[in-house]
């Protein structure tokens, strides 16, 4: 028969493991937001963020100016979110038939959210052969922690050529960036990139 102390230890370990598991969902993958909603393993949306959308999205401001956003979850490393915004910027340029782009502005739209978790207490009473009973256990506890949700916006301008730019401008070769960042994160290259005009 297992002793009460051992049961108590096992219960504590289980509750700790469950608490840790609920904190660590996988980092947001490189996918458009509409797909990320249905991905297995992304985990349930936290309270108040049921409508949150993870992944990349873009908003066209003008035919050559686009705002690209990558939204991660708290398990997404900050640098990874920035890189995925840059990768999506390169792929937006290629999909629209522009070989070059320049990041005109970067906006850190990340936000913090406070979570409160209450763990119910657990109590055990054991009695010996003389009828003496003892009670042991843990009282309920409430823990609060703050987590950062990384959201990065890139305001990009799409360019057909580099000749109009100043020598100190950071004009990026979209194909080059796509290859470099996909290699960095072990992402397969997309099968085809539509030629300009094909998606219009």
């Amino acid at each position: 028969m297992r002793s009460p102390r051992r049961i108590l230890t096992a219960a504590r370990a289980t509750s700790l493991a469950l608490a840790l598991a609920s904190c660590s969902s996988p980092a947001t993958p490189y996918v458009p937001v509409d797909i990320s909603l249905d991905l297995p393993g992304v985990g349930p949306r936290p309270a108040g963020l049921e409508q949150a959308r993870f992944g990349y999205t873009e908003y066209e401001i003008s035919p050559t100016i686009v705002r690209v956003r990558f939204s991660g979850n708290p398990s997404t490393d900050e640098a990874r979110a920035v890189d995925f915004a840059l990768l999506r910027s390169a792929e937006v340029a290629l999909e629209r038939g522009y070989p070059f782009f320049v990041v005109r502005d970067r906006i850190d739209a990340s936000f913090l959210r406070t979570y409160t978790r209450t763990t119910p207490g657990s109590w055990f009473t054991t009695c010996d052969s003389n009828g003496r009973c003892t009670t042991a256990g843990t009282p309920p506890t409430t823990t609060t922690h703050v987590r950062r949700w990384p959201v990065h916006d890139h305001l990009i301008e799409l360019l057909e050529e580099t000749s109009g730019e100043d020598e100190t401008s950071f004009v990026l070769d979209a194909r080059f960036v796509q290859l470099a960042l996909r290699r960095k994160y072990g992402l397969l290259m997309p099968l085809t990139t539509p030629e300009r005009g094909a998606i219009e």
């Binding site: 020598e167 100190t168 470099a180």
Partner: protein, 134 residues
């Protein structure tokens, strides 16, 4: 927790000077990728060392030093840093995007770093970096 234990251990032994070398085990060190010819993303990661044992150069300085060393290794002399790149919110990590030049760029309002000067200045300030070069 593992970072705290490792931090206490190295504080007792070495004083925890940050590693300056390519990223290996433990996610400490630098790495760079070429985004476009002459434009590089340079990252320095300081691992999970707790702040109370940190000594020596800040990770910002080490990212700048790696940018200078990379510039020299590739046969350039000057580099500029993309001003739109945001400081990373990650603990102990810095990512720079740099563009390399053989001659100082003439554009107004752009701060060009002399790679040799940066390298010399930081190595003079933190002599242990010389040892890590060998």
């Amino acid at each position: 927790m593992r970072g705290v234990a490792a931090g206490l251990f190295c504080a007792a032994l070495t004083g925890c000077l940050p590693h300056y070398g390519p990223i290996g085990d433990g996610d400490v060190g630098y790495r760079e990728i070429e985004l476009t010819p002459r434009i590089y993303q340079v990252e320095y990661l300081d691992g999970e060392r707790p702040f109370f044992v940190r000594r020596g150069p800040h990770y910002e300085e080490l990212a700048l030093l790696r940018s200078a060393d990379l510039t020299r290794e590739l046969g350039f002399r000057f580099f500029i840093v993309d001003p739109t790149a945001l400081p990373s919110a990650s603990r102990g990590a810095r990512q720079l995007i740099v563009k390399l030049f053989r001659d100082a760029p003439s554009a107004q309002g752009v701060e060009a770093f002399d790679a040799e000067e940066i390298s010399r200045e930081l190595r003079a300030r933190y002599p242990y970096l010389e040892a890590s070069d060998r």
